[in-house]
Amino acid sequence: MSDELLMLRLVAKDLRAAKLLFDRHHKSVFSFYRYMGVGTEDAEDLTQEVFERVFQSSHSFNTSKAFKPWLYQIMRNRLIDFRRKKKVDLLDVNCIQIKEHESDRYNEQDFKRLQKVLLALPEHERELILLVKYQQIKYAEVAEILGISEGAVKARIHRLIKKITKHFNQILQDEGI
């Protein structure tokens, strides 16, 4: 069942729909905050707040639109509020450990290097790359969220990938690999 249909059921106070939505998305919301540089406990609090807000605002969701960009707007607003109250320290990259079953896709060292590169990016760039590549929100929807054109999103992503590749290889070089 699609997220949008679950949202319709949520309006009718269907608790199972709420649980399904939570189960589907809570890890990705939590991970997004962690990759954005928020500490574990704060990321967990923010994730809880996001879902409380999703359930509170379910009646304002437009079912003819996609759920993910709407969810992301809530995530973003929570993060902005959080930053107003508390200065976010950059993560110690050792804090995020790769899971064992991910190790076939990822080399642990590469994962740490990639996080180092991500955390070195300015916040708006890190947000953009996580939106498109990690959250996999469509270019057009990202453009709508950020209030820029779709072409501009594509161009920025292209430049960012180049930049990330360059930094990543620089780290490799510094490590003498």
Partner: protein
């Protein structure tokens, strides 16, 4: 020296793993879900117009109900045609409603008034026009309760090729398969032979005993 290219970094970014967390769904979350009274009390000014339209529709529906009562007592051809006209007008207005939630609500109303045939005709008419996949799913699920009318299967078969969403297509296939008619099975078998068919639909068809 080892060096990664943009393609590899792109893949790594797309494959960033979901991190483990101990957060669990809390039943208390449901307490944050607004109660029905919340919806009544918290209607914002920007929604006032929508509320007004809904109110007008309700008045129209009540008038329609009253007219139906009169219709049952007096079978004058003039009253009958007036009522049919009013019902058609109502269906047309519902089809034009901007909010999918309103259109969903209209399905319930339509299926509670008129003869079965009239209901099916109206639901099929709305199905053809409906842009939202969730509303189309609800329409098909409602139509599923009228499969005793052969018209439902016939019209769903002709509608099938124009449906673009695989989930909706699968729901239609289920309705056709449940009817267990020769014609329906033949159409589904033909569908299975189409090479360009969405893999999910193809996979679903293999699970149905045709």
């Amino acid at each position: 020296m080892k060096e990664y290219d943009e393609f590899e970094l792109n893949k790594m970014l797309e494959g960033l793993p979901e991190l483990e967390t101990n957060i669990r769904f809390d039943e208390r979350f449901s307490e944050t879900m607004p109660s029905k009274s919340f919806y009544r009390l918290s209607i914002s000014k920007s929604r006032f117009l929508a509320l007004l339209i809904v109110g007008m529709v309700l008045v129209f529906i009540m008038g329609f109900g009253l007219a139906t009562l009169i219709y049952k007592q007096h079978t004058s051809p003039l009253v009958k045609s007036e009522l049919e006209f009013a019902r058609n007008l109502l269906v047309q207005n519902m089809a034009k409603a901007d909010s999918p939630n309103q259109r969903l609500a209209s399905i319930e109303y339509i299926s509670s008034t008129g003869s079965d045939r009239q209901i099916v005709e109206d639901l099929l008419y709305l199905l053809e026009l409906e842009p939202n996949e969730n509303v189309r799913l609800a329409l098909i699920q409602t139509l599923n309760t009228y499969t005793h009318l052969p018209l439902v299967e016939q019209r769903l078969i002709s509608y099938l090729p124009q449906e673009e969403n695989p989930f909706v297509t699968i729901t239609i296939i289920n309705v056709i398969a449940a009817a267990k008619t020769k014609e329906g099975f033949k159409i589904l078998k033909d569908l299975q032979d189409i090479d360009s068919l969405h893999p999910m639909i193809k996979n679903h068809l293999t699970k149905i005993e045709l």
